[in-house]
């Protein structure tokens, strides 16, 4: 039977291919019980394979909590059953896509998920209801078109986002895409970014005033800045660190008002080192870099980073990309043009008003595609790829508002483009307006969801769209963002009207509610965070929107912004005007309050699980040891297949890997060269007898030394068998060595 691995062998970057092979082996090891469930959980998370609601084998069906009896008890993480459908997140750095990639994504959603592609609030895609066994094939097919899922989840550097207008924006200082691309590539799998206690998000913005990059709410963010030095214009970034949403949002702190472009990557690396070394590991709720910055203060954090920067070994990748900054400049498909009296299809004008952005390049525009709830079908995505080929080329973007953009459209082609979008049902107007609501998955698929963010978003969108023609312009331009819980994946803190899911116990029953969050600011890179005002039953949130927006229209003073209006009215008054909406009728009087939007089941929070967003805190050493285990397993496979040369090589590599993991406990930057690894291992652990007879002084170390100094002249079954066994013993000893190191550390005052 053919496999995708064989079929795509010559189309996948060898490194990506290796990584996916490793993951596939880890799946096999987990199935054989040879890989701990926690280690496997973090392993799959770092490849974007997430858990999903009900994967603990329980679901409330509206009457009772039903046990979902999957075919196996095997787990893919703590309390996460193997056969339960999961979510696959796919990183799309800066949201950049080409039509070939779009077609592949469409195919994969069809074959491995539910034929739906979900655009996330960080420019990724997510597939839902994916079987873990399908993920290696899925990843190979993505890799064949240059997409990786690596570090899409877990305690790692997540998707690097950027303004979707970068390169064509009228207000940008310069195009930040080459920098976003370089950062994503440089930090992907970087050794210094493997020991985090929590995720780390990076964003870039081309200017300070617009919202696009949302730098203020990121762990690390750069805003493009230029200055004149020695009569020459120099590029750099206002670098911010320690921002973040979550339950308690933090404003990012200014790390450097002008970080020269050549310092971007080394500084990022130094920050990663400091975060890995000093960031909280045990208490996940305090483990984002924002807490470290808050704890140390930005001055001390900066000092530590700059010290780290000084001792970083030089890496040519820090600046090599700068010589090619203009190489990837996008080229339009068609010459520039303007709309000059062409016939406009019905509905075009409304769409043009909200969904078209004039590029800084004369005669070209960006067309926004409003994607309801961020969901497209496979068919729509495939058709959209064809449309992009005709009108836009490779210049497609996803946005953090869960939409898509076609850039470099020659303006006179807009009516034809509109008709094509209409054909596939993606011609809705209102992009970036009050009807274009952002929502995280919430209770639909997320384990942490408390209330139905998507259900509420669909309901609000439907109601607002129905009356959009009558809405005052000041209301049309407001934004609504909804999260299913306080974790802010829907970015409710930075919208005009934000909501996040909570539950209330009323009349001895659970009732879905949303906290109303007001005062947030989307502009200025997420310039201000809103605050929760009052919790309101889910079913009355549409009334909240009506009341607040109607009062804004009625009492707005001159060109008063919504934020200013909210501030002027005051929280006390706002709470007063919404107070009666907090009342919940008895279940007997109106049972609809006791179920959530779009879900007829009687509401419960019993389906909530443990979130995996935080990932499992696995040390770098544990990963190294897992890699050693995998290598020795592959050695065993090669031995079984009669490939003794390969078996020997794998066994030797496994010992090196395990030795290296021990050395790294003391010497983080130990190079990969075998001579150096063995030498460092000998000096630090064998000669010093540091670990005592139990390990370094034992015969096990000799297995490594012997194989390193005298590779076999010929590869026989006996030799291969022996070294595979020795490697396994060496790995066991290395595990014991790690335990001893940990015990000693724990005894330190």
């Amino acid at each position: 039977m053919p496999t995708w691995e064989e079929k795509l062998a010559d189309r996948i970057d060898p490194q990506l291919a290796d990584e996916i092979n490793v993951f596939e082996t880890e799946i096999q090891l987990r199935k054989q019980g040879k890989l701990d469930e926690k280690v496997f959980a973090e392993t799959r998370l770092r490849r974007g394979a997430y858990g999903q609601r009900y994967d603990n084998g329980h679901r409330n069906d509206g009457i009772r909590s039903q046990e979902l009896k999957y075919t196996t008890d095997l787990t893919k993480g703590p309390d996460t059953l193997w056969d339960a459908p999961g979510m696959q997140r796919i990183k799309i750095p800066f949201g950049g896509l080409n039509p070939d990639q779009m077609e592949t994504l469409a195919d994969l959603a069809e074959e491995y998920a539910d034929s739906v592609l979900h655009v996330t609030t960080r420019q990724d895609f997510q597939f839902h209801f994916v079987q873990i066994d399908d993920t290696p094939s899925l990843m190979r097919r993505l890799a064949a078109v240059g997409i990786t899922t690596r570090e899409a989840c877990g305690n790692s550097v997540r998707n690097v986002t950027a303004c979707p207008l970068a390169g064509v924006c009228r207000t940008e200082v310069f195009d930040v895409i080459p920098y976003a691309k370089a950062s994503a590539k440089f930090m992907l799998g970087h050794p210094d970014a493997q020991g985090f206690g929590r995720k780390f998000k990076i964003a870039f913005s081309g200017c300070e005033g617009e919202a696009c990059g949302l730098v203020n709410m990121h762990d690390l963010g750069g805003i493009a800045v230029k200055r004149i030095e020695g009569g020459k214009e120099k590029r750099g970034f206002a670098l911010y660190v320690g921002g973040g949403l979550g339950a308690v949002p933090h404003d990012a702190k200014l790390f450097d008002p002008f970080l020269p472009e050549e310092e971007l990557l080394p500084t990022t690396q130094a920050i990663a080192r400091v975060f890995a070394r000093l960031g909280e590991k045990k208490n996940r709720a305090q483990a984002r870099v924002k807490f470290l910055v808050a704890k140390l203060g930005i001055e001390e954090f900066r000092r530590l980073v700059l010290e780290e920067r000084k001792i970083l070994p030089h890496d040519p990748r820090w600046t090599s990309y700068l010589t090619n900054l203009n190489r990837d400049t996008e080229k339009p498909l068609r010459p520039p043009s303007h709309l000059n009296g062409q016939k406009r299809p019905e509905g075009f004008d409304a769409w043009y008003t909200t969904n078209v952005y004039r590029q800084k390049q004369e005669g070209y525009v960006v067309a926004s595609i409003t994607v309801p709830l961020g969901d497209l079908s496979s068919w729509q995505m495939r058709e959209l790829a064809q449309i992009a080929r005709r009108f836009s080329g490779d210049s497609v973007r996803t946005t953090v508002e869960q939409n898509m953009l076609l850039r470099w459209v020659s303006e006179a082609e807009l009516p034809a483009l509109y008709q094509e979008l209409q054909r596939i049902g993606l011609n809705e107007p209102g992009a970036g307006t009050i009807v274009d609501i952002t929502a995280c998955p919430g209770t639909d698929t997320c384990k942490l969801g408390i209330s139905s963010s998507r259900g509420l978003a669909a309901e609000l969108s439907r109601r607002l769209a129905a009356k959009s023609f009558n809405l005052d312009q000041s209301v049309k331009n407001l934004r609504i963002k909804i999260s299913g819980c306080f974790n802010s994946c829907g970015q409710h803190h930075i919208s005009d009207l934000g909501f996040y899911g909570v539950s209330r116990n009323i009349n001895n029953r659970k009732v879905p509610h949303f906290q109303v969050v007001l005062g947030g600011q989307w502009q200025n890179n997420a310039g201000a965070y809103g605050l929760a005002l009052i919790s309101i039953p889910s079913k009355r949130i549409p009334d909240v929107v009506d009341r607040i927006t109607e009062r804004y229209v009625r009492e707005r003073q001159h060109a008063e912004s919504f934020q200013s209006f909210i501030k002027r009215i005051g929280k006390r008054e706002l709470a007063r005007m919404l107070e009666d909406l907090t009342l919940v009728p008895s279940f007997e009087a109106d049972p609809s309050f006791y179920s959530d939007w779009g879900d007829p089941r009687v509401y419960t929070i019993g389906d909530m699980g443990t979130g995996e967003c935080a990932g499992e805190v696995i040390s770098v050493s544990q990963f190294e040891m897992a890699a050693a285990e995998r290598l020795v397993f592959e050695g065993q496979m090669s031995l079984d297949e009669g490939d003794f040369t390969r078996a020997d090589a794998h066994a030797y590599d496994a010992m090196l890997q395990a030795a290296r993991s021990l050395v790294k406990e003391e010497f983080m930057d130990v190079p990969n060269e075998p001579d150096r690894v063995v030498s460092e291992f000998r000096t630090r652990f064998y000669d010093t007898n540091l670990l005592g007879d139990r390990y370094a002084g034992s015969k096990f170390a000799q297995y490594l030394f012997k194989r390193h100094e005298a590779p076999p002249r010929e590869h026989t079954q006996d030799q291969a068998h022996r070294i595979v066994e020795e490697a396994q013993l060496f790995i066991e000893a290395a595990h014991a060595g790690h335990d001893i190191i940990a015990e000693r550390r724990n005894k330190l005052p």
Binding site: R59, D61, P85, E103, D107, F129, Q131, L426, G598
Partner: protein
């Protein structure tokens, strides 16, 4: 051909006087989960995709396969996608037909839904094992014909590929006489 991923769509009769709004299937599918109403299936969850133009409509997720009130090409129908191995085409067909019967008799839908008996669509949901070409079509046709004859011995069947684009999945339109 050893295919795991097969989809079968049975079309709703569009001549019904009052078509069922797609969102009405949400409580129906939830009630199926309460009863675990489909034999040999672990029914897990319901998902509302009614906001997607000509999309999967309302989805009922099961471990063995997904059921949806599919709206592709603007035609409502029940689409069953088998995900797991273990069933041949006949068994997949049987499951799809059983789901249709359940829907037709569901009291919440009040007899407003009827499925056509003169056509169906069979989709191979695996571009590796079943590429959209003449060879796969020729290989699949006899087993599909045999499976249909076992289930509906009195009827006659004609088969046609609905697209020859190699990027599409192999989809076979079955006319039932």
């Amino acid at each position: 051909m050893e295919l795991q991923r097969i989809g079968i769509k049975l079309f709703a009769d569009s001549s019904a006087p009052e078509p069922v709004p797609v969102r009405e299937f949400i409580p129906v599918f939830h009630s199926w989960i309460q009863k675990q109403a489909i034999e040999n299936h672990l029914l897990i969850d319901v998902h509302n995709y009614s906001h997607i133009h000509n999309g999967p409509g309302i989805l009922l997720v099961a471990q063995e396969g997904n059921f949806s009130i599919d709206m592709a090409d603007g035609r409502m129908g029940l689409l069953y996608y088998r995900k797991k191995s273990g069933d041949d085409i006949a068994a997949v067909l049987k499951t799809a037909l059983a789901a249709c019967k359940l829907l037709e008799s569901d009291p919440a839908l009040g007899g407003r839904l009827r499925f056509r008996t003169d056509e169906m669509l069979v989709v191979t949901n695996d571009r590796l094992l079943a590429p959209n070409d003449d060879q796969t079509f020729a290989e699949l046709k006899p087993s599909l014909d045999a499976a249909l004859k076992r289930l509906l011995p009195e009827r006659k069947f004609t088969f046609a590929r609905s697209s020859v684009n190699p990027k599409d999945r192999l989809a076979i339109q079955v006319q039932i006489g």
